[in-house]
Amino acid sequence: MLYREAGDYKTSYAKDNQTFPIKFDRVAYYVLLFVAFCVVPFFINDYWANAVLVPFLIYVIATLGLNILIGYCGQLSLGTGGFMAVGAFASYKLMTAFPDVSIIIHILIAGGITALVGMLFGLPSLRIKGFYLAVATLAAQFFLVWLFNRVPWFYNYSASGQISAPERTVLGINVTGPNVDAWAQYMVCLVFVVACVWLARNLTRGNLGRSWMAIRDMDIAAEIIGVNPLKAKLTAFGVSSFFIGIAGALLFTVYLGAAEVGEAFGISKSFLVLFMVIIGGLGSILGSFLGAAFMVLMPVLLKNVLVGGMGWPTDVAAHFQFVIVGGLIVAFLIMEPHGLAQLWRVAKEKLRLWPFPH
């Protein structure tokens, strides 16, 4: 009964085009923002931040980035892990080279550097399509990981080959390094998530987003009606890599603190983010949130149930987790190939008619 457009009069074009046309959604959105910014930081503890909230927020950014590339522009990419590594290493080099500059600026520049690298590896997409392109992006994945492993300049000649984030502050509060508070980690990630989502939402409904979607739906037809495929594809790779680079930089500086490139940014990370995109729903911003939440929460939940609840040995539980994750992905694709976002869309339609569906 509450979930209706009825009675909500729109008197300007801006209002007509707003993101949440239904009043209930708008209220819920502001309440959610209020809770996220003003309530959660006071109650968050180390376990929740480290196991759930911080990785969730970081993966939302990465998923959003990959979703722009796959869901909006239709270019399948398996190089996410490599691009996240670019973000991480760029932020590391910047942080150690210019210690006086704010880390926020470093992370943004790291995103920019990743965007350039992404555009470089996106160039073949003009010739190569579909699965050939997916395999081609694996070249980026393997080459970048190898590069960061083999060239000592990238990890400042440290003996272990690892990179570790030095302590940095924002407004006088520690956000990286060993002495960081859970709420500070959370707030930094949250600010980046909100900014990225705002950017993504406005890009995808504008001129650029429409040209991406035209390329996705049929690239030859799009070219004929005047979409420049070079521009559309390269901007998609650029924007997507920008987000993924920010996610990589945050993952390394704020969340992990220290990283070894093959372990933290390997091919499994590419697949993890791809799963988030598919399970959440292709071409949906809400889906990016849902997919990331699902893939972050499920292993935590499974581990708690199997090891904590039933007392299985950890290795058997780990194998069982693979079976369940794999099985769930297949089951999901069979039941709802358009992801969790589609479930929400269906639920919304039902809600609008409730309680009188006929």
């Binding site: 050939y132 395999v135 393997f142 190898w146 083999r150 049929m218 058997v316 194998h319 079976v323 190939p337």
Partner: protein, 332 residues
């Protein structure tokens, strides 16, 4: 001739042999892609699973021993018998056919007419599932696979080529296992070609590969064909699993050979069986020679991880459908 030159030739020959091993995996991909348009990421894990099952059956392991022990607190481990290699291989083929049947029944049937990316994701899910399932069933420790294939350097080749070089040169070192693998690969490809050209089922397979709808309309059952194709792919996976497993032990890294087979596919084209072979050879030789000539001396080594991909990528820029792939025609 200098010893370095002969060493280079040896690297070249070993590259050819490695290429044959890549081709074995790539073959399975091509078969499934041709018949159902599915890019089967699980092929590598299928090889791992087949090899694990083979070892498990050979050694008489109790399936799901870890799981049973964890739930019931028992300590079962082995039946205590030893199955001969030939029988074990037959049983494993049976398991792979059963697997093909289950995949068709519970996964593919429900995903008909979905977009390729959804099917691709489903096979990744399948790969995860099988990886965990295989570990649950047979345990995750590294196992030794021995079905009686000779191993180690081939002394005959070594001795008969030793006269070529000078004092420093003792003949080419080539692993006997690689030679066996090459022979098996040739036999496998020959029999696949004969099968698809001269049998009724083979003809049906080619019809489905050509056009699903047309094949359906002349009375070919898609579902049966899919079971057959996945069974054959399972069999190819078993062969690849035996070869790789004998070489480096049955362990998780075996499933990563799928990633080695992908550039082979790109180079050869997703739809061509000869392409898989030629692509495999090019990639095998290319990455070994690059590592030998440029990678190890100048770039700090381990270039094998990415060279194949970059080579395939550069190649595709000039020929987007691969060496032998069907020409991509696009219409609006």
């Amino acid at each position: 001739m200098s010893a370095n030159f002969y060493y280079g030739v040896e690297v070249f020959l070993n590259g050819l042999m490695a290429g044959v091993m890549y081709s074995l995996v790539a073959l399975g991909f091509v078969l499934i892609f041709k018949a159902s348009g599915i890019f089967n990421y699980a092929q590598g894990v299928m090889a791992l699973f087949a090899a694990m099952t083979l070892v498990g059956i050979q050694n008489g392991q109790v399936p799901f021993a870890h799981l049973i022990n964890a739930i019931f607190g028992t300590h079962v481990k082995e039946f205590g018998w030893h199955v001969p290699a030939f029988l074990a291989i037959l049983l494993t083929i049976g398991v792979m056919i059963l697997f093909a049947f289950i995949v068709e029944r519970y996964v593919l049937k429900h995903l008909v007419n979905q977009e390729p990316i959804i099917l691709f994701m489903a096979t990744i899910g399948l790969a995860y599932f099988m990886e965990g399932f295989g570990d649950l069933m047979w345990g995750s420790e590294i196992k030794k696979l021995d079905v009686g294939i000779p191993q180690g350097g081939n002394t005959w080749i070594e001795e008969s080529t030793a006269f070529l070089g000078g004092e420093e040169f003792y003949g080419f070192y080539i692993d006997s296992l690689d030679i066996v693998a090459a022979i098996v690969a040739i036999l496998l490809v020959a029999s696949l070609v004969l099968f698809s050209q001269y049998t009724k089922t083979g003809r049906a397979l080619r019809a489905v590969a050509d056009d699903h709808q047309a094949a359906l309309s002349v009375g070919i059952s898609l579902r049966t064909i899919w079971v057959i194709v996945w069974s054959i792919a399972g069999f190819v996976a078993l062969v690849a699993g035996i070869m790789w497993g004998s070489k480096s032990g049955v362990q998780f890294s075996l499933s990563l050979i799928a990633l080695k087979a992908l550039p082979v596919l790109m180079l050869g084209g997703f739809t061509s069986i000869p392409g898989a072979i030629v692509g495999g050879l090019i990639i095998g030789v290319g990455e070994k020679m690059f590592e030998f000539l440029i990678g190890a001396p100048f770039l700090g080594g381990a270039t094998e991880n990415w060279f194949a991909y970059v080579l395939a990528l550069l190649f595709l820029v000039f020929r987007p459908q691969g060496l032998f792939g069907e020409k991509i025609i696009e219409r609006v």
